[in-house]
Symmetry: C2
Subunit: 221 residues, 2 copies
């Protein structure tokens, strides 16, 4: 997915001339440090929100100075994206586990969105930050967020595909465009909620209404 893997200091793929053995003490220490950082960051995000969680505080909780965090991470946003990616993964796994391809598309889609929503609703910050990250000039982070979104779109497309095969969907339907539209509408509906302008219930209702519109279409029949 990433078009430029030539990052000089990418900790995941060090460009050392002589490859280190994966059980090298230094690498092991590094991995432990990374997981400490992730834990600390997540806890502090929960406690104080993304902006409230200072890198210095995260560093302190992880047992290191703030600047050392940059040995393992390229930016603060990346910490949150890591977490977001992990949660997405989990939500998708959970979806697949309970998924039944014989159900009507509408229902499968509903279940998927339900899980996706539950995932993000855990912290309102996630919606906010994922979006903000996608608007950061630092390309690396934005691209990761968009890649995640692309995967979501892909999953939705897969679900729709099932429905299309069984004739539940319009024949000429552009699956990709449709999936994109669904995902975008979801994101758009969540923004006012993340800003506290709409209740969780209002957000859900808005999404449901949008799905109705999407399924039946605007044009007169």
């Amino acid at each position: 997915m990433t078009t430029t893997p030539t990052t000089p200091h990418d900790p995941a793929a060090p460009r050392s001339r002589r490859a280190l053995r994966p059980d090298d003490g230094r690498l092991v220490r590094g991995r432990k440090a990374r997981s400490r950082i992730r834990e600390a960051a997540l806890a502090l995000f929960r406690e104080r929100g993304f902006d409230g969680a200072t890198l210095r505080a995260i560093g302190a909780r992880a047992g290191m100075g703030a600047s050392s965090i940059y040995r393992h991470v390229e930016s603060k946003e990346e910490l949150l994206i890591d977490e977001l990616a992990a949660r997405q993964e989990e939500a998708w796994m959970r979806f697949r586990k309970g998924d039944d391809r014989r159900l009507p598309v509408r229902e499968r889609l509903g279940r998927f969105l339900e899980l996706e929503h539950a995932l993000l609703a855990q912290d309102a910050d996630f919606t906010t930050i994922a979006l903000r990250a996608s608007t950061q000039p630092e390309a690396r982070v934005a691209k990761r967020v968009l890649a995640l979104q692309d995967r979501t779109i892909g999953l939705v497309a897969e679900i729709l595909q099932g429905g299309k095969l069984r004739g539940e969907l319009a024949r000429g339907l552009d699956l990709l465009a449709a999936s994109r539209a669904i995902v975008h509408v979801l994101a758009g509906a969540r923004i006012p909620w993340a800003n506290g302008l709409v209740s969780a219930e209002g957000c859900r209702a808005s999404i449901a209404a949008a799905l109705d519109v999407l399924f039946s279409g605007l044009a007169a029949r």
Copy 2:
């Protein structure tokens, strides 16, 4: 629109016990300063982009120190929101001027989106920043962006309404939900473009495809 007008230092509505006459020298000076700031900010945004335009630089060009800017503005984002609002206003005016209510909805909508897009496409920064602003914890800015978006949604709803009256749209259509969906899809489609992951043409195509989907609907007929 704003639910909390009790800001202690809101320059637009000072809560002085004794109201100042609008031609009070201080107020006049303040107005001039504000417009100088706006000019300087806009010019620098154009020259160096939002992040490249330092508050200190803006202040210098406006003939004052950076900190003084905060006498007139609550945050850097607000400067850009001002500009965005002005452009929205202009785009809407231009739309209304050339609008013909007898045209098919689809066409009217297309023209509207065209103008809206031309407006934002002037600087890719606008899409990015408007979106980023809507994710800022500072409620004031986020709310202004969302209010702008709400107005856009309202305008789209108005356009759709015309089509509905003439039977071009589905009878049971939820106009508000539909308008929201359209605007959200637009925003969603613009994000990858603003990040340079999709060409302007790709973005436009994606929007067109989404509109197709929206109009004809997902479900089989």
